[in-house]
Symmetry: C2
Subunit: 317 residues, 2 copies
């Protein structure tokens, strides 16, 4: 019992015992058994993180932030991959909850009803990331994909483009909200043309960006600007234009989404919507830690915003 206390509340153990205990721990290389701790205490130091993809750069950045914030804390991160499937997500939530995690970080706001019910009745704290809404399960940090796409579309129109198109892949809920933002603004300007919207449920890749661009050009050769659902597509679209000798931004303007590092390095540099992915992961983890320590009152919804980064690729000459 004194050893147990020495590890968790050293201030309640005499200096003498403490140093003796520490010496023995060091000598033996003793490590507490997390299973026994979990069983006895009825809780763990596990923070479960559920993301829809481990390949997607966007979530890789978020994870980096989460891991950075978990570093040197007593929280241990555990990653689950829902592969964009709400059912898989539900399974993961069940698995995680059976482990009595201290907290859960979960992507998006489109959980299944069953998942929401599970989460609501569970005692663990929850942070939803990537998006914001006014109905958080518990806490939430992200930004409005709808507004971000609106702002990007407004940027294209402000640059003087009048026949804007949209390239989209994957079609997860966030993609769809971005498309909705594009439609909103284009329609309001009287510039919406459905045939200039090219989407596919396939996962997005640079290659796919080229294919979608080719498709768009054959369907709507008048297109003079595109908003891409993400940066991979934008890069692929740029390469396709280069292959066809179509001047960017002279003939066609290209705007990506997320502002991956490579956007600024491309030639021409590609405009994009900067999102704060690393910070989102880092702060989600910190919000959880703060809530668990109850050191601060939990702020339920944090809007990280976004910035339209204007570069050469949408610079109408």
């Amino acid at each position: 019992m004194t050893v147990s206390r020495a590890l968790r509340e050293p201030e309640r153990v005499s200096v003498k015992s403490l140093s003796r205990i520490r010496a023995v721990i060091a000598r033996l290389g003793y490590l507490p058994d997390p299973a026994a701790q979990a069983l006895a205490a009825g809780r763990t130091n596990v923070i479960g993180v559920i993301v829809p993809s481990v390949t997607n750069n966007v979530f890789a950045d978020v994870m980096r932030g989460v891991y950075a914030a978990a570093e040197d804390s007593r929280w241990q991160v555990q990653l689950g991959n829902s592969r964009y499937s709400p059912l898989e997500e539900e399974r993961l939530v069940k698995t995680f909850l059976s482990q009595r995690p201290a907290g859960l970080i979960i992507s998006g706001i489109d959980q299944s009803d069953e998942t929401r019910a599970l989460l609501r009745t569970s005692p663990c704290r929850i942070v939803q990331i990537m998006e914001i809404s006014d109905q958080p399960l518990d806490m939430m940090i992200g930004f409005s994909h709808l507004e971000a796409a609106r702002a990007a579309t407004r940027h294209l129109l402000a640059m003087g483009y009048t026949r804007p198109g949209f390239l989209g892949a994957r079609l997860d809920p966030r993609t769809q909200r971005r498309l909705a933002g594009f439609r909103d603004v284009a329609a309001a300007a009287g510039l919406l043309e459905d045939r200039r919207i090219v989407t596919t449920p396939q996962a997005s890749t640079v290659t796919l960006g080229g294919l979608l661009m080719a498709d768009l050009l054959s369907r709507a050769p008048e297109t003079d600007a595109i908003l891409c659902n993400n940066d991979d597509l934008a890069l692929g679209a740029l390469f396709e234009c280069q292959r066809r000798g179509i001047a960017v931004p002279g003939k066609i303007g290209i705007c990506g989404f997320n502002d991956l590092e490579m956007m600024a390095a491309a030639h021409p540099a590609i405009s994009s919507v900067r999102t704060h992915r690393y910070e989102m992961g880092e702060r989600a983890m910190r919000m959880l830690a703060a809530a668990l320590d109850a050191s601060e009152p939990a702020e339920p919804v944090v809007d990280l915003g976004f910035e339209v980064v204007e570069r050469q690729s949408t610079l109408r000459p």
Copy 2:
């Protein structure tokens, strides 16, 4: 006890009990407590995976393979990020081992002596990934980075380039072995020039590829081909050449490493060394599962090889 058996050895339970138990489990939404299982059984279904980066595309692909193979198996993947630090890796190994994992997948062959000792005395099965050597801790799957870089360099020379350079970032052990392969072949051909080797300990990015290329061009303007330590650098180098109006491959040939999807989509398409990252993760997981079930004798070292993919960017006109 009968319930416990019904879950683990249903064939040893009467059909009648079994169906009754299953009905109750379904009705109650019962999920076994993993902590109690771990404590009582002295082992877990956890497969720990230690990678040096969660951001790097290379490991993202590996992880995708691991998760795919773990899917629908009884093994549960747990990810640790050593951030390219052997000390961090040692800490992670300790944390993992205290959980009594069934197996461990660990990147590379450059573990610290202490880590090696810990792993050797632990009862859990181990797969080292990314590289091969003749001294596996247990099992191993990967390829020779030295040979891969040699082959890529030979390709450059075979295309007629005579003043080859090398761009490298990060300088982890695998990077260094690639550089060694480049040096080998260039030196053997009498074409090695140290000033054409530009490296940095920084993490590699597309932007950095451009900077290294600029650096190389100012130090060794005669350079007519480069082998890049990875595809990000290669893409950045390509963009830098485009910005300067340097023809690729006419004036300078560019070869990447890993053959990320975007290499084929670029304009010009970029030559690279294809490595089998997804398969590596998938098979590592399967090797572990097979060894744990002892269903097959464990093959200690699997060499997945590589392929030099020749594209326009190294096509000397």
